[in-house]
Structures are given as structure tokens and as C-alpha cells.
Amino acid sequence: MTVEQIDPTDVDTEIADVIDIRDEDSFAEGHIPGAENVPLDNLEEVVDEREWNDEVVVACYVGQTSQQAARLIDAYADDVIVASMSGGYKKWDGPLRQSNK
């Protein structure tokens, strides 16, 4: 089972929903502006019910667990392009936003 990979430099947060599956602490320390934190454990609970944008990019630490998360979203979301951000935050070179937990 494969899932589309997207290079971090090609992630357009204006178009795609960025779903950050890291834990809350990591998200608070710095995340892609506009990203939404849905830790992996929570994702299983909400994946069936939530509305997904037409394009979804899943981001994690190194771009591996995001592949399984992207497959899970893809299994539930019809007509949605779901991609895993290759290399994860380790390769993310863009701006980061901090937030309060």
C-alpha cells in the first residue's frame, strides 16, 4: 500500500489541510503555520467523522508514520488527495509557529 509523497517545499498551506500527527508538546514547540494538531492516537477516533479538505498533507517527525496516517485518512476520505510530507519536520525548512498548549 503506497501513499503519495510531497516534498516539504511543495506544501501549500493555502490549499491543503496540514495535519500534524506529532504529540502536543512537539506541536506547541513549533509547527507549520496553519497546521492542525491531530496526534496519531486521536486520528483513529476522528478519521471517520471529520470533514476533510480536498487536499490533505500529513506531517510527522521524519516522514514515516505520516505514511500510515495518510493511508488511514485516504481509506475514509472520498475524493480527497492525501499525501505524506517526505522527510517530515526533520526536512521542513519553512517558518515555524509556536503555540500555547
Binding site: 496519531l40 517527525y61 514515516q64 488511514l72 481509506a75
Partner: protein, 99 residues
């Protein structure tokens, strides 16, 4: 959730039966408890441990993080042959034989 779970969308290696899995743990050169840990720590520790093993020796990782059952075997690549055991209650063991 009515459809596939994270378990269903994770590409794990072939499974071991309960008896074989239990016996092999006793024969393992090293057992790493990775419960509560997430990527990339289990991958890094598996790669380090496999490098230390003699050819044919077995490393076992215990995990409750389903994606590790795909990501850890992928991380060690051709350095180890991988199998997985599913307890059925959220605990998994990844068996890695040094090649």
C-alpha cells in the same frame, strides 16, 4: 470507526504464531522495550542494535505503536530479516534476524 484501523493500513512483515513468538523471545540476543516510544527512536535503536549482533542473532522489539511494525523493518532494511507478532491487545513484537 467502522472501517479500517491503523493496524489495517500498516504494511507489516509476515506474522509469527503465538507459540513460535514466545519461544523466540527466550532465544533473542536482545529484547528492547519500546512501548510508549514513537518514531524515530525505535528505528534508531533497532539499527544500532542490529549492527552489534552476530550474523543470525535475533533482536526483538516490543512496541505498542503500530506504525513501528512497518517503519522499524524498513529502517534496518537488508541488514535483518523481519517478522511480527500481534498479541491482539495492542502489543506487538518485531523480530529482526541479523543477516
Amino acid at each position: 470507526m467502522t472501517g479500517p484501523s491503523l493496524d489495517d493500513v500498516t504494511d507489516s512483515p509476515d506474522e509469527l504464531d503465538d507459540e513460535t513468538a514466545t519461544q523466540l523471545v527466550k532465544e533473542a540476543a536482545e529484547v528492547q522495550d519500546m512501548t510508549g516510544e514513537v518514531c524515530p527512536y525505535p528505528q534508531v535503536e533497532a539499527k544500532k542494535a542490529v549492527q552489534q549482533l552476530d550474523e543470525g542473532a535475533l533482536l526483538v522489539q516490543e512496541t505498542d505503536h503500530v506504525p513501528s511494525t512497518e517503519n522499524v523493518p524498513r529502517a534496518v532494511g537488508d541488514d535483518a530479516e523481519a517478522k511480527v507478532w500481534r498479541s491482539g491487545n495492542g502489543l506487538y513484537r518485531i523480530y529482526l534476524w541479523k543477516q
